[in-house]
C-alpha cells in the first residue's frame, strides 16, 4: 500500500474468472502521514480507505472480467462494516466475488481479513464504461503490471 498515492493493494494473489472472484493482498504501511492525524499515538487505518481497498480489489476483478476494455467506477457502498481495528503493518487479504452483473453496472461483495479474521466487509456497486481516456487506460496498464495482473489479459 501507498496511502498517499491511493495505491491500496499490493498484488493479486488469485484471480478466478470462472468463479467471478479474486483474492488480493495488501500490507498496511508502518508509517504514513495519514497516521499522524488518524490518530495521534493510536494509528488506525481509516475506514474509508478500507472501503477503497475493497473497491480497488473489486475493480481489478471487474477489469479482468471485462477483458480490460472497460473501467469500473465506484457508485454505491452498502452494508459497510468495520469489524475490527486495522493497524500499521498488518497484512490484509481481500476476497471479492460478483453478486450481479447488470447492463453497465456490477455489484460485488468484498471482505477484508487480517490474520484470518474478518476485519470489514461491504456490498459495492460499480458503473462501468469504455475507458474514457487513453491516459487512464495507460495508468491502469502500468498498475496492472505492478500488481501481477495476468499480462496476457492486458492486451487481450
Amino acid at each position: 500500500m501507498n496511502l498517499e498515492y491511493f495505491h491500496l493493494i499490493d498484488r493479486i494473489a488469485e484471480l478466478r474468472l470462472a468463479d467471478r472472484s479474486i483474492t488480493v493482498e495488501a500490507r498496511v504501511p508502518e508509517t504514513s502521514t495519514i497516521f499522524e492525524g488518524h490518530f495521534p499515538g493510536y494509528p488506525l487505518m481509516p475506514g474509508v480507505l478500507l472501503i477503497e481497498t475493497m473497491a480497488q480489489s473489486s475493480g481489478w476483478l471487474l477489469i479482468a472480467l471485462m477483458q480490460f476494455q472497460r473501467m469500473p467506477f465506484l457508485a454505491a457502498v452498502k452494508e459497510a462494516k468495520m469489524r475490527t481495528f486495522v493497524t500499521p503493518g498488518e497484512l490484509l487479504s481481500i476476497d471479492v466475488s460478483v453478486v450481479h452483473e447488470g447492463s453497465g453496472f456490477t455489484m460485488t461483495e468484498a471482505k477484508i481479513k487480517s490474520g484470518g479474521k474478518l476485519a470489514c466487509n461491504a456490498t459495492l456497486t460499480f458503473r462501468h464504461v469504455p475507458f474514457p481516456h487513453p491516459d487512464l487506460r495507460g495508468h491502469m496498464e502500468t498498475m496492472a503490471k505492478q500488481i501481477g495482473f495476468p499480462e496476457q489479459m492486458i492486451h487481450g
Binding site: A76, G102, S103, T125
Partner: protein
C-alpha cells in the same frame, strides 16, 4: 397472478421508499417518481433477479441519447412492464 406492473411497482416502492399507492402504470420513473440513475441501478438489480433477465439499460440509454427513443418508452412503468414481458418471453423462446 400478480401482473408485471404490480411486481415492478412493489420493487420500486420497497427499493426507493416510495408509497406504493402513488405508483401507477402511467408514472414516469424519473419525471414523476424522482428516481435517479443510481437508484435505478438498485431497481434494475431487483428486476433482473425477480424476472431472471438483464434489463438492457446501456442500450436504452444510448437510444435515448441518440434520439432514437424517448425516456417514456422505457421509463413509464406500463411501458417498462411491457419491455420486461418481452425480455422474459425472449428468454423463454
Amino acid at each position: 397472478m400478480t401482473s408485471t406492473f404490480d411486481r415492478v411497482a412493489t420493487i420500486i416502492a420497497e427499493t426507493c421508499d416510495i408509497p406504493r399507492e402513488t405508483i401507477t402504470p402511467e408514472s414516469h420513473a424519473i419525471d414523476d417518481l424522482g428516481i435517479d440513475s443510481l437508484d435505478f441501478l438498485d431497481i434494475a438489480f431487483a428486476i433482473d433477479k425477480a424476472f431472471g433477465i438483464k434489463l438492457p439499460l446501456e442500450k436504452w440509454t444510448q437510444e435515448v441519447n441518440d434520439g432514437k427513443a424517448t425516456t417514456e418508452q422505457y421509463f413509464v412503468l406500463k411501458n417498462l412492464a411491457a419491455r420486461i414481458d418481452e425480455l422474459v418471453a425472449a428468454k423463454g423462446a
